[in-house]
């Protein structure tokens, strides 16, 4: 298991992706699966900075990668405002171009790129996002 803490700013995203890229490579995922993990983690961390912290340099992001036997577990913690995924309206891209809004696209991508996605908030740990990418049988 490896853990690294990053400053909560957009400039950190490249380093966070590199961190999970390494873990996903080491776990034996193929290129397409690694991209899915990178994208899910990038979207999650961008959401943390933008919504949970409400801006850059407000708090840190702790990222843990754990190679399970059947997959890669990624745990992302932040100390921002509690996040309730139930409040996020799914994006609607069936509407006309001028009516498209970006809200919810990040969460939609996260849910589709990863196999398990759980958000938990506690006063002790703050927001904890646990995601798992399963290995192909």
């Amino acid at each position: 298991m490896v853990t690294e803490t990053f400053p909560g700013r957009f400039e950190s995203l490249a380093g966070i992706r590199e961190f999970v890229f390494q873990a996903a490579s080491d776990a034996g995922f193929d290129e397409k699966e690694i991209y899915a993990v990178e994208l899910a983690v990038d979207e999650a961390c961008a959401n943390i900075i933008e919504h949970a912290y409400g801006g850059e340099d407000v708090g840190e992001i702790e990222c843990t990668c754990n190679d399970l036997k059947d997959g890669l577990e990624i745990i992302i913690k932040d100390g921002g405002e509690p996040f309730d995924p139930g409040e996020v309206v799914p994006p609607d891209f069936s509407v006309a171009l001028e009516d498209v809004t970006p809200r919810g696209a990040g969460l939609f991508l996260i849910r589709n790129m990863m196999d398990d996605v759980d958000f938990v908030f506690s006063k002790e740990d703050g927001n904890v996002l646990r995601m798992v990418k399963r290995k192909k049988e």
């Binding site: 957009f10 400039e11 490249a14 397409k32 994208l39 994006p91 891209f93 001028e98 696209a105 790129m113």
Partner: protein, 111 residues
């Protein structure tokens, strides 16, 4: 991230190199917004050397497409989109808002 713009008679070609995320998307947004603010609405965006694009990047492209297509005055077309980026675009369902071409020559020929 590296962004280069080439002006042609019939359209403008913007070539982006690198990774487009929440940190770098504002650079691309600035370049594209300058074009549309200058009245240039026929744009080819060459993404052949872009190997990562988050939803923040797609949103920049959606906003540019809105400006380009208003009053039928133009369009933003994308070229050389790598498979994994194309997959995520189609997965989210935003693929329908863009014409995709394999290379810049085909993209320019669109106009």
């Amino acid at each position: 991230m590296e962004i280069n713009t080439t002006h042609y008679k019939r359209c403008d070609v913007v070539k982006s190199v690198g990774r487009i995320d929440s940190y770098t998307a504002p650079e691309l947004e600035e370049v594209l917004k300058k074009l549309t603010d200058d009245g240039k609405y026929k744009i080819v965006l060459d993404l052949e050397e872009v190997d990562f694009m988050s939803s923040k990047g797609w949103w920049v492209l959606i906003e540019t497409q809105k400006a380009c297509k208003r009053y039928n005055r133009g369009e933003l077309v994308l070229t050389g989109v790598q498979d994994r980026i194309r997959d995520s675009l189609n997965l989210v369902g935003m693929g329908g808002y863009f014409q995709l071409y394999d290379d810049v020559v085909s993209g320019v020929a669109h106009f």
